[in-house]
């Protein structure tokens, strides 16, 4: 696989009182920009695509200057050849799926390989209004790929889909990542998506990059807790399978000697699966043996307490895994939780979701 071209983003753009100030170099195949809505990540992508013009700075793609305020260079979007997948899809409603995909495709080409990769063959003659949300997003991705772009820009391509659908689309994104040898700039507010796809993640808040690095590393560090709060995420863990029982409908995972039961999922013994647990789905108990229906009790130590206006955020260390837990101030006071205390995390099996296949 060829090395990804280096992409240099160094520009400023103000919109009203909001200022986007970006300075970074992308060198990996998939770079994710993570941030809450309003953090400026869509503005960033619009500047890279050429839809918006920055106030000042430069954008360089593999040595080619796309935008430079100093030398007054500003390539229009149609000359940049960046495939853009929008959150809302923005398929052309008056064109069929086939016509949508062909819209940006160079002349006299065979039907795009993206049609097969995204399994769209049976929908080609339909109109966008006749498709489900997930199918529409797949068409949007195929349309951006068919133009044979130099880079793929994805603005929350999964945000308008429900969780079940997201998990079905993520494998397609993996196929895209493998089948098309171009860099991808992926924008999301969901850590799970960034972890599933990205080689490097940039955390963006109030128009600035506040942290960057390999996505697992970015989350595993204790400093990830504010990030977890910022991005509204769940806990994400990569755990090996110890037992899988289809008849009983459960799969057991191992977390450093302790066992974690999740709803049955197709996986080999020993295979590592990514799972997500929402911070508010974890109950904290001071006793290990409770007569309750929840299937999982993990022993851990409170590493850090963070009292916020809406709730208390607790970082619990289970061996070397960090779990972010969100509880009420009342619960914190009644249980007299403090740093260093040994506690038990009670988690219902059904509150644990496998992230992607």
């Amino acid at each position: 696989m060829a090395d990804s071209p280096q992409i240099k983003l160094d520009f400023r753009k103000s919109l009203g009182s909001f200022i986007l100030d970006i300075n970074c170099t992308l060198e990996t195949k998939v770079s994710a920009f993570l941030g809450v809505s309003g953090s400026g990540k869509s503005t960033l992508l619009n500047c890279v695509s050429g839809i918006l013009t920055p106030d000042e700075g430069e954008i360089i793609f593999g040595g080619e200057v796309l935008y430079a305020s100093a030398s007054k260079i500003n390539l229009p979007p149609e000359k940049r050849r960046f495939g853009y997948v929008f959150q809302e899809g923005f398929l052309f409603p008056h064109l069929t799926v086939a016509q949508n995909i062909r819209y940006g495709q160079p002349k006299r080409r065979k039907p795009s390989a993206a049609i097969d990769v995204l399994e769209l063959g049976e929908f080609l003659q339909r109109y966008p209004s006749e498709l489900s949300g997930g199918q529409r997003q797949r068409v949007a991705i195929a349309r951006a790929l068919a133009m044979e772009p130099r880079m793929l820009l994805m603005d929350e391509p999964l945000a308008s889909l429900d969780t079940a659908l997201k998990e079905r689309i993520i494998p397609y994104l993996h196929h895209v990542k493998d089948a098309f040898d171009i860099p991808i700039l992926y924008i999301t507010h969901a850590f799970s998506e960034a972890m599933a796809l990205a080689d490097e993640a940039f955390l963006i808040a109030n128009g600035e990059i506040i942290a960057s690095g390999e996505p697992h590393g970015l989350l595993a560090a204790p400093s990830a807790m504010p990030i977890a709060q910022l991005t509204g995420i769940e806990n994400i863990l990569f755990l090996p399978v110890t037992l899988s029982d289809k008849a009983k409908g459960v799969t057991s995972l191992e977390i450093e000697g302790q066992s974690l039961v999740i709803p049955y999922t197709e996986a080999e013994i020993g295979e590592t699966v990514p799972i997500a647990i929402r911070a508010e789905d974890i109950i904290i108990s001071l006793e290990p043996d409770l007569s309750i229906s929840a299937r999982n009790t993990l022993r851990g130590t409170i590493q850090h307490l963070d009292v916020k206006s809406e709730a208390t955020w607790i970082s619990i260390l289970v061996e070397w895994h960090h779990l972010a837990v969100k509880i009420t101030h009342q619960a914190r006071e009644q249980l007299q939780l403090k740093e260093g205390l040994e506690v038990y995390c009670v988690i219902k099996a059904s509150a644990i979701n496998r992230l992607w296949e």
Binding site: P76, G83, E88, Y103
Partner: protein, 221 residues
């Protein structure tokens, strides 16, 4: 009770003038409509007001202004008379100009409404797919705005067919030359030719009804 040659001539002239006017105004209307719907530029509200003016001015006033402008001593008419030796006023060309000015706002309003309904995001998406602004116009903006464009065209065309006030001011009421349907009805009423009036009114009503019905069909889902 048969329709007279003069009535046929008036009907034919009305249709001919309305079609000619459409040929001239449609491309300009597309451009102006696109400017007003999709662009921001200094003087935009002035252009919008200028285009809409004939809609609110009494047609007689528009006609009078045109007469001043196009007459042999007028700014435009004088120039053309001196260079080409052609007098515009009281000619078929004057009828075409008069109905064009009066019908133009209706045409443009339809086009603007249609084009404003096309989301900018779709046009931007097309740009990122490699389409130049001109290709975006022909493949996204215009096809998606077609209801408004067709609606404006039919309304403007019907207005041209029946225009009276501006036409009589700038082109007169010369049978066989500048006498359109509306002017023929006016003359027939004045001369007390009731049967002729009934026939012309009947034909006009049918034409107007069909045009409106077509508009509804194309602009409503």
């Amino acid at each position: 009770m048969r329709i007279t040659p003069a009535e046929v001539a008036a009907l034919a002239l009305s249709i001919k003038v309305a079609l000619l006017s459409l040929v001239f105004t449609f491309p300009i209307g597309l451009f102006v409509g696109w400017l007003l719907a999709k662009r921001t530029f200094p003087g935009k509200s002035f252009l919008n007001t200028l285009v809409l003016c004939p809609l609110v001015l009494p047609p007689i006033v528009s006609g009078y202004l045109l007469l001043i402008l196009l007459g042999r001593n007028g700014l435009i008419g004088g120039f053309i008379y001196q260079v080409f030796g052609i007098e515009i006023v009281f000619s078929e060309l004057a009828v075409v100009i008069a109905v064009s000015i009066i019908s133009f706002p209706l045409l443009v309003r339809g086009i603007v409404t249609g084009m404003e309904s096309v989301p900018l995001e779709l046009e931007n998406a097309a740009r990122t797919l490699g389409a130049s602004p001109i290709k975006v116009f022909w493949t996204i903006t215009l096809p998606m705005a077609y209801r408004g464009v067709i609606g404006g065209t039919i309304l403007g065309f019907s207005k041209s067919l029946g225009e009276f006030g501006a036409t009589i001011m700038v082109a007169g009421n010369i049978p066989g030359k500048t006498q359109t349907m509306a002017l023929a009805i006016f003359s027939a009423v004045h001369l007390g030719e009731d049967v002729s009036v009934y026939r012309l009114v009947f034909i006009s009503t049918i034409v107007a009804f069909v045009a409106l019905w077509l508009t509804e069909r194309f602009t409503l889902r």
